[in-house]
Symmetry: C2
Amino acid sequence: MADEELPENIALAWGLRDRPSRGPKRSLSLEQVVAAGIQVAQAEGLPAVSMSRVASELGVSTMSLYRYVPTKHDLLDLMVDTAFGPPPQPRAPGEGWRPALARWGEGHLTALRRQPWIRHVPINGAPINPNQVRWLEYGLHALRGTGLRATERISTIMLVNGYARSWATLSLDLAEAAARSGQTPDEVGMRYWRNLTVVTAPGPYPAIHELLTETGDEDDDEDAEWRFGLGRVLDGVEVLIESRATQDPAGR
Amino acid sequence: MADEELPENIALAWGLRDRPSRGPKRSLSLEQVVAAGIQVAQAEGLPAVSMSRVASELGVSTMSLYRYVPTKHDLLDLMVDTAFGPPPQPRAPGEGWRPALARWGEGHLTALRRQPWIRHVPINGAPINPNQVRWLEYGLHALRGTGLRATERISTIMLVNGYARSWATLSLDLAEAAARSGQTPDEVGMRYWRNLTVVTAPGPYPAIHELLTETGDEDDDEDAEWRFGLGRVLDGVEVLIESRATQDPAGR
DNA sequence: TATCTTCTGCGTATGGTCTACGCATTAAAG
DNA sequence: CTTTAATGCGTAGACCATACGCAGAAGATA
């Protein structure tokens, strides 16, 4: 196997570890450690995930964990990859790129909503862990045959990915701030607008005041804003794809 | 002044603090504390910003800082707001929404590039600090008279903001990973593709392999991908604005 | 002027964090 | 049976944020 050359991180995540056959049996598996970390994060939030907390969850000592994971950050990366899980149903044979890519974006949102702590794990670099690679495959697959070039396909899925992540972060932050203060998200939103009104009162902020006086006829649908942004992104992609199709049908 | 009702955070950021006229003179100002924090973050990265590090930078004791700032996170918020600085030149009278909004997005990227540590400060909630509010004003101003509704204007600038932030994060992470390993960003990119090739070799990843075999005719321009994504986003917004203009010229 | 009141800076202490190092034990390989 | 490597873990070091309380400074008040 060509698992040489690979950094320790990656080999670990893909299960390409050599036989540790000489010493005593390990009392745990990497999967158990990762699962315990996820459980703590899910139950008590990411700040509660310390090595000692995870270790006590498993009934072992703190330092034992370092026989399974080189560093805490590697554990977090593995937790994210496992918690994200595999991508949704891939693009069906007759399906267009747009619904497939929309489903991809929704999948990100769903995963982040189900495990809100994921958004607080700092991103290390380009996606290389197993599930991340599967999501990458899905996203690229959705854009096959659209006439977009390689760099354009990558940029497009990064665009959707970034939008889903930033929107999920914003809406979850709001919801958690609400829960923390024992109010509904609507109340927190109202309080924000009121605070904004107070601080912008003395200064020249015409566009903000215009916004504040436009009484929003509250859309009940929680996800209307999400779908709005996603629609704009996909519209922008569609403009490019269609212009390619008409100007240069061969896909270059 | 209507500075009652405002949370401590916000009052502090807007300089709406009451007269502390009774006791001894303070030996520092809030601005000095924030500036010292920024200096440490800029020179040694965000993890180096501890209360004791900032205090020693100022020649005072650790606990003295808590007379200026309620908690460390409030200090970080103030640091971000100060480091971001004011937005760029606002939309000129005859200027269209699109170049103005593009400049807004570029401004985000420039600010994040100049102070890369900003991206590691976790976002607390909706923008309420002075410079953040100025950026908000700018963004909304750029969309005045486009026929977009209030929620649509907000969603649009959140979209551009999220894109700029996520793209800056990704490109800076890559650059820092490169610097850390003493390689050029290109080398790190090559290494990533090679690692991806290795791990995807045994499995079924047709779209990724298609991507990997498409030899990218390397675009020299570093920001080509950034401008690609921004162009798609703005195209998507343009589609909506134009459809509004033709269907409903009155702006709803 | 003398006292009161409030605010300052800071010393101490608590309870946490990650992880480097080394040691005794275990179990498979030769 | 010996060799060898891997395991779990105890100890310790170097940090971290911040709660609490105290001595002293200086404006407000009598």
